[in-house]
Amino acid sequence: MTESLLFGVYVFVLAIFVGFEIITKVPPTLHTPLMSGANAVSGITIVGALIAAQTAPPTVSNILGFLAIAFATVNVIGGFMVTDRMLGMFGQKKKK
């Protein structure tokens, strides 16, 4: 237990620091798109959902997986699309 947990904690803590380092000084203009984009990234849980939904007959675990996929996909597809839509509005003016 300790070994895999510790390894995971290492990865987790380092990734948090990477996050803090790369997201310094976000201009306020981008707060909303950053949040909705990051939000879409949290839909990565879809990877777990895929694994959970793979069994064939409708069992409880399978239905839970199906629901997880549906929710995670809303998060992923909706999140990336709406972020792109917002950022597109910022881009327009440059061309004009």
Binding site: M1, S4, L5, G8, F12, A15, I16, V18, G19, F20, I22, I23, V26, P27, P28, T29, L30, H31, T32, P33, L34, M35, S36, G37, A38, N39, A40, V41, S42, G43, I44, T45, V47, L50, A52, A53, Q54, A56, P58, S61, N62, L64, G65, F66, L67, I69, A70, F71, V74, N75, G78, G79, F80, M81, V82, R85, M86, L87, M89, K93
Partner: protein, 479 residues
Amino acid sequence: MIQQIVVPILYLLSAVLFIRGIKGMTRVRTARKGNLVAAFAMFLAVAATLLLMGVVDYRWIIGGVIVGGVVGGVAAVKVKMTSMPEMVALFNGCGGIASALVALSVVWTDSVELGKVETLGSVLGGSSALTVVLSVLVGGVTFSGSVIAYAKLAGKVVKGEPILLPGRHVINALLILGALGLGIYFAFVVEVPATIALLAVIVLAISLVLGIMLVIPIGGADMPVVISLLNSYSGIAASMTGFVLNNNLLIISGALVGASGLILTNIMCVAMNRSLANVLFGGFGAVETSGGGGGASEYGTVRSYTAEDAALVLENAERVIFVPGYGLAVAQAQHTVKELADLLEKHGTEVEYAIHPVAGRMPGHMNVLLAEADVPYEKLKEMDQINPEFKNTDVVIVVGANDVVNPAATKDPNSPIAGMPVLRVWEASTVMLIKRSLSPGFAGIKNELFEYENTMMLFSDAKKMLQELVAEMKDVLAA
């Protein structure tokens, strides 16, 4: 070979691309590409996972993707920019509950459905068993908290005001301890699968109640903080699910989102001069206003003007700054503001926009609304940038903002908002306040700016008044 080497490499590539993508999203020039990179990373992660699973029964997977894809896609295309906070809240909730459901599904697959009389800890390994509990807890809180945040933002059910239950801190502490206690009990002590299943569902139920309890006492003005924090939670929930599945990609991506949410939370707290603890536990807005400045409704001389009066002043202004607030979003008046600004610029007036960090209902909300109305983002000035400029400004037009332009924050040390950074609009020659009434803002306190001699109150719906101003300015230009 594929499963041991190719898939992990693809996962690593995906994690790197997520980092690149999020980094890109922190700069205007690279933001759109960053978002696409992150989306590609997600695609890669899904592809790698399908590769890992080999040929399986895809019916449920495809079904879930279609349902979620259609709902998410339609919502993303249809949503109004003014409703963005509500939608981000809902998406957050979706991510949170998905993580919780994956964790629950693992409990069913590896324990309940196998029917083996063994603890979860020995079936999954202690690390996974422990994180199943955390994943369910954080995911559940994220989901119900986000739904309540949505309801508050949309003005449904709860009208945005804080709801303070007596003894709520004790109740919340008991709920957290109860969920953790029961969680550890079902993960490491219970051996009967049916009991494990029951307790897992109970932990989910407790976490859902906890999410509601944590968000209902928080007032509408604090929503930017709450959404940022829930954003962070949804990342943490994904990370915890990564621990359950021993999947580093989930741990890394979740941690990135967790960090980004925390950074935004911190920015919002600084902008309101409040600590996170104060936002979460203080129940601001319901706190009694501590003397200083009198009641919220007692005003002395307030000068009310018409659009025509205002247009006469605007005609002679060389420099105008707009201060948009949430009222502008509610009235959907961003396009009318832009129309008025265009007219002023045609008239030779210099126009800029001062954006307070917590204007709107989520971080950066006002910037998005004005971008939608085609206002170039170079014209949107941050508070620190614009504050020294007000004294050289002829007219400031405040549209639907109140607390963020309250002089009490700098002048009255006893004010509840004392020390909160505000836009010093009163230093301009003339301040026009477009407001429906003298009603207080979310902080529930009086704004003495309304009584200042250089203040012109324009009592009206924001959009209506702006339209009248546009009409008046057109006359001026035609003359």
